[in-house]
């Protein structure tokens, strides 16, 4: 689909951050995503260079409108709105997870870079520390 657009030259040698937080759970229905983003925010507040990788149902967190809903839980919108303030600007999203859910980058409320599976492999292997939520 957009393979050519999703592999900019800058990403052939992935950046090495202090911490990569991988978010694989949906923004509603459990606290996995919220408590994962909490770790990212605190690490950034402690001066660490932090990036987020959204995989699986985690990509839904990037779609507009993930505030409190009928489930009576907080949602993730307020937290993701704080990412910029905490200088967390490196956001990656699984291209295949987007495709499987009928989403494109245009559907996302925050600027993220879509990565194919081999690029995700390179990204994760370039990080000294990775936490999975």
């Amino acid at each position: 689909m957009t393979d050519d657009e999703t592999a900019p030259a800058a990403d052939t040698q992935p950046i090495s951050l202090d911490l990569l937080v991988i978010l694989r759970h949906p923004p509603h229905g459990s606290s996995w995503l919220r408590e994962g983003v909490d770790v990212a925010l605190v690490a950034a507040a402690f001066g660490q260079a932090v990036g987020l990788l959204f995989q699986g149902d985690g990509v839904f967190a990037l779609v507009e409108g993930q505030g409190a809903g009928p489930l009576g839980q907080k949602g993730t919108h307020a937290q993701l709105a704080m990412l910029e303030m905490y200088d967390i600007e490196r956001l990656w999203v699984s291209a295949s997870a987007l495709r499987a859910r009928g989403l494109t980058l245009a559907d996302l409320a925050l600027p993220a870079l879509a990565l194919e599976a081999d690029e995700i492999d390179h990204l994760v292997h370039a990080q000294p520390r990775t936490l999975l939520f």
């Binding site: 996995w32 770790v39 402690f46 660490q48 999975l132």
Partner: protein
């Protein structure tokens, strides 16, 4: 990371798994015990999400099952492992030290040393200060 043989590593563990509900809690304890038995160092265990329930001093499993909280306590006493419990995850799940209990006007508490309620900053420190961080999730 100095003054030790090159093949000895320092570990931090991150435990998301609830005691008895999930294998991850017991696996984390067994990993820690195996690591120190082989001469490695487990400097801290950070309990997050449902893993905070590992810190309850009211835990009372049947006698033919491993007592997880006792196991963690022994690890701390014998090997100096820090037992760190995320305060935000703990408070909302009913894990309280005497200090937090007083602060919240409660009449009971269920977290005592060597378990310590602390912030996520300690998890960041643990990640930076050890050779490896191992996550035990459900």
């Amino acid at each position: 990371m100095i003054d030790r043989p090159y093949d000895v590593l320092s570990y931090a563990l991150l435990v998301h798994a609830a005691p008895y509900s999930e294998q991850g809690a017991l696996s984390a304890l067994r990993f820690a015990q195996a690591a120190v038995a082989q001469g490695h160092r487990v400097s801290s265990v950070f309990f997050y999400r449902d893993g905070v329930h590992n810190a309850s001093m009211l835990m009372a499993p049947p006698q033919d099952e491993v007592h997880l909280a006792e196991g963690w306590r022994s690890l701390a006493q014998e090997h100096g492992t820090e037992l760190l419990v995320c305060v935000a995850a703990g408070l909302r799940r009913g894990l309280m030290s005497a200090e937090e209990s007083a602060r919240h006007g409660r009449e009971a508490h269920n977290v005592e040393p060597p378990f310590v309620l602390t912030g996520l900053g300690q998890l960041v420190d643990a990640m930076l200060g050890n050779d490896r961080v191992i996550t035990f999730a459900p």
